[in-house]
Amino acid sequence: MSNSGEPGVEEAELIRRAQAGDPAAFDLLVERYTPHLYRVVRRLASDQNEAEAIVQEAWLRAWRAIHRYVADRPLSPWLVRIAVNVARDLWRKKAPLDFADLGGEEIVLPDHAPGPEDQLTRKEALERLVSGVKKLRPEYRMVIALRYDAGLSYNDIASALEIPLNTVRTHLRRAKSVLRLWMEAEDG
């Protein structure tokens, strides 16, 4: 599976067959891409059930739209974009965003904060980072998920979220800045 590059020959053939209406070919794409898609979606979703629901709905929409997919483009960003739209629709239906806004919290930094990895084991640092990402504002969490879990380029993120490239850069910079503060505050 190629996540961000052009589809391989075998994969391109699967996509072509799926576009021609071959369910078996599409089912093979489901098998190949679901783990990757789940990883990205799980970062966005509030729990495992929500993530599974988003992934399922994203595949249904992908099936309905596969004949319009431009086959020489990578499939992964296209799928991620559909999943992001499904997630947004789901959140719109729910009560206003039930995510804590880490960006709005006041984080007290220690005076001489040593590098977090000096004191923490890597595992603990990763656990803290994951909890920090969960508390990010949704738009920040999305760019983090698309950049680091999906491995998308800035352009693909901009396309997936339908926001300008500069906004992607800004979101990513702010998200990392908040996470850096979070890690250092946790450390102190």
């Binding site: 369910p23 599409f26 089912d27 489901v30 098998e31 679901t34 783990p35 789940y38 990883r39 799980r42 970062r43 495992q48 599974e52 992934v55 399922q56 595949w59 249904l60 929409r61 099936w63 309905r64 739209a65 004949h67 319009r68 997919y69 431009v70 296209w78 974009r81 559909i82 739209n85 590098g115 977090p116 990895e117 640092a125 990763l126 980072l129 994951v130 990402v133 983090i144 950049r147 680091y148 879990d149 990392k176 996470l179 850096r180 890690m183």
Partner: protein, 144 residues
């Protein structure tokens, strides 16, 4: 420039992937495919029946329609083309007069059954056109 945070973000763990998720998706897709095929076949059947009913109602009135159209002959078209070359505005004025006469003749001969027949024939035709157009929507619009 990548730093410790980038490195950690790239290594961020995620919850284990539910092993049966892909199978669940495939089962749901199979259900959706069966359902949409059933609906599609149902709509097609209704359209065929609508078209057939429209034709059945139209058949006895074909003669009237042909009579209404008969004034349009090759000689008249030739005559109109010559008029168009001589004086385009006069030719267009003449054409609109002919069209109005033809439509009013047709309208006078319209019965409720004929209107119904044309409506019934137009429905499957419209459905066909919409189906064709919807398959031409761009990929960007497909992202629902």
């Amino acid at each position: 420039m990548a730093d410790w945070l980038d490195e950690l973000l790239e290594a961020m763990p995620t919850e284990p992937y539910p092993p049966d998720l892909a199978v669940q998706v495939q089962i749901r897709l199979a259900k959706t495919r069966r359902w949409s095929k059933w609906v599609q076949n149902g709509v097609r059947l209704v359209m065929v029946m609508t078209g057939a009913l429209g034709l059945w109602l139209l058949m006895p009135r074909v003669e009237m329609l042909v009579t209404a159209i008969s004034p349009i002959s090759l000689a008249r078209i030739e005559e109109w083309l010559s008029a168009m070359v001589r004086s385009p505005s006069q030719a267009l004025l003449g054409l609109s007069g002919i069209a109005i006469t033809w439509v009013s003749q047709l309208a006078a001969g319209l019965e409720a059954e004929l209107v119904l027949a044309l409506g019934l024939l137009a429905t499957p035709a419209l459905y066909g056109v919409i189906s064709l157009l919807s398959s031409g929507i761009s990929q960007e619009e497909a992202i629902i």
